[in-house]
Symmetry: C2
Subunit: 385 residues, 2 copies
Amino acid sequence: MPDLYNLSDEFWMSQALDLARSSICVAWPNPSVGCVIVKNNFCIGKGSTQSFGGSHAEVCALHDAMGKHYVLEGSTIYVTLEPCCHYGKTPPCVNALLKAKPKSVVIAVLDPNPVVNGKSIQILRSVGINVKIGICAEEAIWLNIGFFSRVITSLPWVRTKIATSLDGRSSLYNKKSQWITSESSRKDGHYWRARSGAILTGIGTIINDNPILTVRHFPISRQPIKAIIDDTFLIDSNSNIFDGSRVVIFTTINDKEKNKKIIDQNGEIILVDSIGKNSNKINLSSVMKWFAENCINEVHVEAGPGLNGKLLKNNSIDEMLLYFAPILIGEANTFIKIPSINELKDAVAFSTLESKLIDNDIRIRVYNYDRWNLIKEKCILQDMT
Amino acid sequence: MPDLYNLSDEFWMSQALDLARSSICVAWPNPSVGCVIVKNNFCIGKGSTQSFGGSHAEVCALHDAMGKHYVLEGSTIYVTLEPCCHYGKTPPCVNALLKAKPKSVVIAVLDPNPVVNGKSIQILRSVGINVKIGICAEEAIWLNIGFFSRVITSLPWVRTKIATSLDGRSSLYNKKSQWITSESSRKDGHYWRARSGAILTGIGTIINDNPILTVRHFPISRQPIKAIIDDTFLIDSNSNIFDGSRVVIFTTINDKEKNKKIIDQNGEIILVDSIGKNSNKINLSSVMKWFAENCINEVHVEAGPGLNGKLLKNNSIDEMLLYFAPILIGEANTFIKIPSINELKDAVAFSTLESKLIDNDIRIRVYNYDRWNLIKEKCILQDMT
């Protein structure tokens, strides 16, 4: 057969990654996983993780193939994450794989969950199945970056969304509330809201803009938590964010009377420690730990320059999702309030992931390389090809 | 024959555009043109404009084909600009084309030069040659945007190069001279210097940075003119820019003694009018007219925030070439000094052309849509397909 039909591992893994991508707002807080089963250069089964408690990708793909009466023995199974080998909401996927008797299993990345973490690979290899790991690894990590971050570092992956002019301005001095970027960019922003477990903002944004903070332009089965940093408990229980969904207020003030009003609105108050004595400044690291402990993989920040600056100072911005409108505003408010520096080497440096045109706007993603690399190293085995 | 071999007009025109692109710093101040001759879906000849006074692309391609003993009759000739029909430094290309007896001529855009402007198309059609126009038209216009701008509007195309942080800062308050963007971005910037006819800056940049302003990281047969906006004639004749190449100082002050010093350094002083009475502020429109009158197609600006702001106010920025380093600087100098506005609709708006990663930096090109559209309308015939 011509080479054209001898498709590479990368080709099939990218099909599995597409399947994983399709379930990104479904699997949540589980990782989104995709699986394709290939025999004689033909896809005989495919699947992706179902909603929490439902079947995993591997089981879906096996069922898909069996439903079409394909013989699984001798096949190659591509899966974007190491299969599980423990009993969770579903039985271990590795058992289902063993039963299928594939010739090979190709895995993008290890599952860093301590109860898995290479064990499934050992099990598969122990019965003579050929296991290949590390195909499209980086793409697979980005797909579930929050899950990996939470499991490996006990912190969520924090992505800050910024809408700005080319000259780095996010709002006019007179604070007249207007959209800087296009409708397409704003809709794109809702995808990133949708894949996050929480949307975080500051009390200033709530007071000034009174936003709803829901996912609207993207299909979703449940809304992310809304979270507010509110050092001195200024929140008004009539704010638009109280729409019946889960709202979490992080504060340092315990005001029982006000607590009741917020709880009546379906709100939840989390008392957190402050930075330094006699201060009401919330310790942002404690907030991030809370998110991880509550199974929030990705935190989506839409905040003003003040909170953005504090998060940066706290080393809590893992990724910036910047939407540049092709306009020049001149003297106005910046999107992030940070002090001046004396040497360029003291500037906060990110790594660039991608740049994309969205209609007339430009979307740029940059990330904290050290955090990313720390996560990557734990998901990639030394013997990976 | 299978469809694979029946290549489209767009395919061949893009080959011609590649040839044109290769001569972009050669043809100057002539437009860069590419030509391919195709017969039976096979390229039998190709050429691009030679340096000023040399052969045009069409003649080069015809010679190429004839040198290989191909029969030109019945061929299809693809050319990125309407062939000339007048005697300039070389005889009219249209005569050479007529002699070749092609079946068809496919042209990207009209030559807006009044001595051509559709006449060659009429000539070709009058002898029964099939002429198709408008294939890859926009790309062809961008390739020679400065030439079209000068011929159509009597103004050069002004491209401002900016190196900035994500938060729109181009230098620290302490003005410590440091590169913001990477070496790759700086090298890329030299390509844009190379294709321009003049590199423009302000006297402030000359005094603060004392740059050489030459093309170094790109092969070039001759350097662009160096041009300085120097309202009150502060230029020091010992500045690095005086390296024997052509330097033009625009000023409003006539100081005979100083003039001599500058002229001794191979410099040229252009006295221009000022804005308003009793002012030394140079009328930037007069500077731009001077460039067009002196056959400068593209002006490459590398200036500080002051001159950038004045050019913007004068509506003289046609394109911005922005290199974003993925860093946050915080309070520092912006790259363009413009006053604050009260309504977002008063922001200066550009259209976005492209966004590209250059190592870890992001290069964005935005342009003045109205100026571009005015030019485009004059290069595209109503009957274009």
